[in-house]
Symmetry: D2
Subunit: 100 residues, 4 copies
């Protein structure tokens, strides 16, 4: 089962500058074979459900290792069985409608 | 690593009446050994990260088996390493503050 | 237009103990005439869209006044026009399915 | 008070093809003077809290006018008072860390 995920990880207890933790997660996703698409409020990845969840867990573990005591993540998670889901297809479809 | 999760599962392509799908997920969580706490906009469970994620995956699979072609889930996910996280402790702590 | 909202407010830059801020928001919601339903990962309120949004803004303002420099809120927001939405009806409907 | 918002609007009761509704919201945001940044799982906008919320309400109203009976939105909402928040600054800061 393929999943499309939008991951917003908020580290707590480490002050206000969160970018190094977001960057650390990006690297974890890349190490796990994903091509993360960073946006202003999260990161999009797509792939097999289990691999997505392993990578997300590895993010939490990495951040805790970096000294983050508490993490609040918001995850948007999509699956579908009528056809293969794809982030590119989702974006393309909206853009086509915008051009009409 | 223990996780506290707030799961909001939205089945797409099956009309407007979603309660039977929410109920199906509640049953999946119970079958997986959780005590789900249903609220008006989701369900809270807590437990080992892997078990939480297995149960969530089983929800998606169950709903797809029931004929739901597409699912959009919103997940709030908390982990902490400074002390054992607990939904009861979170609620109790806010309620104490409200009584002051 | 009536809205059902699930509000999860995460104060940043004030350490790990967030319950007093959650409690402060509960009070703001009550002051604004809502009956907030606290759960382990957020608070549910329902009412006129504008009133819900005024109250949410007042929460952010109150927390910033209390010294919170940065806030990350996750909001689940439902509207419907086929019939009057209701948190009680949502919960009742799932519970009926669970009893079948 | 400036807000940064990540809006994920899910129309219910209109089948599986949601892109025309996402495109309609993009147009609403543009009409309201925003420069929406579409990504695979939502749209980012930034601006004055009240204007952001007016535009979001206008999206829900537009979609209901288009025949969508029910809408479930997930909103990530950030405010901060220590300095002016900016989507560009957030992205730039993470990218700098990734290059180090």
């Amino acid at each position: 089962m393929k999943a499309i995920a939008d991951v917003s990880i908020i580290p707590l207890g480490v002050g206000l500058s969160l970018s190094k933790y977001v960057a650390a997660c990006e690297k974890v996703f890349t190490e796990h074979g994903f091509e993360p698409k960073l946006h202003a409020n999260g990161t999009n990845i797509e792939g097999d459900w289990e691999r997505v969840m392993e990578a997300l867990k590895a993010c939490h573990e990495r951040l805790h290792e970096m000294g983050v005591p508490r993490i609040a993540t918001n995850l948007r998670l999509g699956t579908r069985v009528d056809r293969e889901p794809s982030m590119d297809a989702k974006l393309r479809s909206v853009k086509e409608k915008l051009e009409q």
